[in-house]
Amino acid sequence: MNVLAPNRTVGQDPMVPRSFVIERVRKELSDTYTMDLVPRDGLPFRFEPGQFNMLYVFGVGEVPISISGDSKVTAGISHTTRSVGKVSAALNALQPGDVVGVRGPYGAPWPVADVHGMDVVFVAGGVGLAPLRPAIYWVLAHRAEFGNVAIFYGARTPEDILFRREVQQWRGRFDMTVHVTVDRATGAWSGKVGVVTQLIKGGGFDRHNAVALVCGPEVMMRYAAEALGERGMPKQNIHVSMERNMKCAVGFCGHCQWGANFVCKDGPVFSYDRAEPLLSIWEL
């Protein structure tokens, strides 16, 4: 992966953010918001599904956030952020018209452009659906080039289903299958209750000719990869998106070192044959 982001010209300092204006804010869940950002310089912003940006809340700090919008749209970008710390909480308190700094895009993308002709299985847990959404958009935009497309999504409760309206739209399509389960049923939920790995057992993909893109909490990704493996999917066809303490995002500072890798530039997307040995070492 080229460290120099595609939106930068040669010689531009990768540590200097571009300023973006918040155009729109949507509350997705009680603690999760999607922001649509447009660049103040009017230049296009290009990224590949799975990449992330460093978002800078001026006076507070910088945080790595996956891009959750459509990579075909270059006039702006979308980020879906859950309030988990000081910077993300400050980010979610911003309003339309406020300005943030953006460095990126960074990181290795989901390999959607390299898997034509294969079945594609998306396995998402919680807000892990956000980094997968650009890949889902990409596959649906090139639908005829893929085999079966399946989404297996696990959420905490029915109220925690991210992008609910879109999930329902995807579920209504005739050219893909969408299975949703929740850990805890509430209210009038009449769907599945249980862990997302149980959905994988249902299959719906050709194990010899399928690729899986998995994103969610680390433990969930490990179990999902094991369930896919039990269904016969080779480890090199399973891809997971890792999350570590990324600071510089260009492989200089070492904060996100994970074994011999820097998650910011060698990842965040790793094939499971590379990730598995490291996932079992809790100290990493």
């Binding site: 603690d31 850990d183 049923a185 249980g194 969930m220």
Partner: protein
């Protein structure tokens, strides 16, 4: 003319019975029958005798417990091609939760007393059935453990 399919043939379609020979399937089919449950109907209730276990052929079942002050809590759902119920294997053979049909459910039910007798008489059959059930139990335990971890929640959030 209507083709009549024997229960042993229906059982053969379910992966739970993969690897059982015709003789064993016929033996177990002697304890089996076809059942259906309307949406909302209880298949069994907690603390009642665990007289059967079920292979779900169609529909979904909610396994739930009534919790005072919190209503009925769904612990898991069981769908097509899955097995429902393991309390019939463990003394005192009583259900520990309720099972309710969420939609129309068609299932093969197996009589627990009949099957336990056959397992006692034929240890080979008993061993092979236990080989099928232990992974089901392990999977349910594993799923429950993962649910308890509350992986999608934030630390400190109830």
């Amino acid at each position: 003319m209507v083709d009549v399919v024997g229960l042993d043939e229906l059982m053969k379609e379910h992966n739970f019975f993969d690897g059982f020979d015709k003789e064993a399937l016929e033996l177990m089919a002697g304890c089996a029958r076809n059942e259906s449950f309307r949406a909302g109907e209880y298949i069994f209730k907690s603390n009642s005798d665990a007289t059967h276990f079920y292979i779900i052929r169609h529909g979904n079942v909610s396994v739930e417990l009534p919790v005072p002050g919190r209503g009925r809590i769904t612990l898991q759902t069981v769908g097509e091609h899955e097995t429902l119920g393991w309390s019939w294997l463990v003394p005192p053979y009583r259900w520990w939760a309720d099972a309710k049909a969420i939609s129309l459910v068609r299932a093969i039910s197996l009589d627990a007393v009949c099957l336990r007798e056959k397992m006692e008489d034929d240890h080979e059959l008993g061993y092979r059935l236990m080989q099928r059930f232990v992974p089901v139990l392990a999977e349910r335990l594993h799923a429950t453990t993962v649910q308890l971890l509350d992986l999608y929640g934030l630390p400190g959030r109830a």
